[in-house]
Amino acid sequence: MKLAEALSIVQKTSAELPEFGVLLACGITPLHLQNYLAAHLQALRPDRKVRISSGLFGDLVGTLDQASRQDLQAVALVVEWSDLDPRLGYRQLGGWGQIELADTVEAVEAMLNRLENAVASVPKSLILAVSLPTLALPPGFHTSGWHASAMEIALERAVADFAARIGRHSSTRVVNRQKLDLNSIPATRYDFRSDLNTGFPYTTSHADVLGSAMANLIAGPVPKKGLITDLDDTFWAGLVGEVGHENISWDLSSHTQLHGLYQQTLGMLADHGVLVAIASKNSAEVVNRALSRPDLAISKKKIFPVEAHWDAKSGSVSRILKTWNIAADSVVFVDDSPMELEEVRAAHPGMECVLFPKNDYSAGLALLHSLRDLFGKPGLSEEDNLRLESIRAGQELSKANGDPTSVEHFLARLEARVILEYNSSTDDKRVLELVNKTNQFNLNGGRYTAAEWGQISKWPGAFVLAISYADKFGPLGKIGVLAGREEGRALYVRTWVMSCRAFSRRIEHACISALFQRFGSENMFFEFKATSKNGPISDFLAQFSVGSRDGQVAIEKTAFETKCPKLYHQIVERNG
């Protein structure tokens, strides 16, 4: 991104939007790093007006200390060698060489300890993005440039140890140095002229990449949830219908290792909670034989569902989306045929359609890296392990849904338990993840930063309810959040989300019923706002609404109890 473009993005954003405050803590003059960070964040959060504040030149610790005193959503900490010991930069003449720098490792470790304490003081509700030295050390060591001196190795180790220590905190995200090296060539990062004249040491191209990296750590795109893959010349090399299941390959000796690496990547993604399905134009029997080969690099049971027939791929994709119950824009489709990609893209706008490359090693490697970027998430949760099993269980429910008698029979025998955890910790990452990622059963589409969510529990009469679910098919984990306040004989609900995995089990009915009982309220008012995707909650509220007041949908206890279908759940209430 050119500097002019970065400035233009920031200037064109309406000042009327709610602010997204970020504290940039750096020892250098922030200058264009601030501009690029603002521009990249603004591009990622067009719903907010990004505001970047910075501290005093050279005072990293003092700047971090300000984090708790400002209205912020995130902190960006950028550290260079000169911040750890000014002798490791070019703007001070403190001496170089074995004698002058004898205590530099000790000085750097002491500064890193001070920084660690300052990092610990940053409120946990804020995302802390950290970049550790990106510029080369100066030529102040006794060895030749090709020869890493013991002192340089010790300095690198001190920084790596620091990264490992602070990276353990769930709200801290450290810039991946290897990724940065791929996108900003180390030899082109340092601007000697600018450093000496202005105190800003980065070339604009490096400021651009580093700003982008930090912005992605703070407000990166929502990870995709599912991947649908083609088989022939994608999942494996060869046309299985022609050469037979024993002659398709994905190994080094056949020069088809990329397909094995792709399978291995899908296996990793599945382990991380990503849904993986197959859409293939092949006979189901042939595919089943091939998927039963014991040398697959992904377990067959991690793939669900498998659509193998001769119908259009877009139809297969539709059925898979229905089974998963997620939207097209949460899914990546991979195929080696540009025509198939186009057909799916046309039928499912918003779906990320990715070409599996042929005879192009660079593109193959790029594909593996891009899959990591598309699906990468800051942390893994218990729910990630449960997702696929809950979808398989949901399939059982879908089969029963065609027949009302069968539905009641099925639900009555589910042995369902709804666990309602009142006033759950606002630090619970899964709760905020649900609030910010759920689309279909979402009361109003409101999105919150961790800091904003932390304020919710401070309202007078506030309650925050985390909803978990389990039945005889196993636990679904934490699947819903409901937050609001009690006022008089009424409850006012501001946030209500429920994962689509939990649909059709009457969990939403159970929640309303339990709330009426716990609070003894006569009415509930919901801050409903229609979005392009929240039809399911709109339909649910419409069934029980007795009208609206001040723009809020009202549900009366007696009317609800009259219309509510039979509930079979065991309700377990806990206080967080």
Binding site: K2, L3, A4, L7, Q11, L31, R193, N197, F200, T204
Partner: protein
């Protein structure tokens, strides 16, 4: 209006978004409140980016108005690049 002048006006509008368009050509360090050291460096970097030149910091200290920068650029930017 020559091409250099036009491109320079766009740069000024980017660095000083609150400056009315009709005041850009008469803008100077004295007349624009927000023309501080950060703005001066940003101007310099945008000019370098737009005209693909490298400026000397000693020159920058002298480039304290739109017209001075315009004249400077007329001497630095080859007609082919214009």
């Amino acid at each position: 209006m020559d091409n250099i002048e036009q491109r320079l006006e766009t740069i000024f509008a980017t660095v000083f978004p609150d400056l009315p368009a009709n005041k850009i050509k008469s803008a100077s360090h004295e007349s624009v409140d927000t023309w501080d050291s950060v703005a001066a460096i940003t101007l310099m970097n945008l000019i370098e980016e737009e005209f693909e030149i490298e400026m000397d910091f000693d020159d920058v200290a002298e480039l304290t108005s739109f017209s001075r920068i315009h004249n400077y650029l007329k001497g630095r930017v080859s007609p082919a690049a214009v």
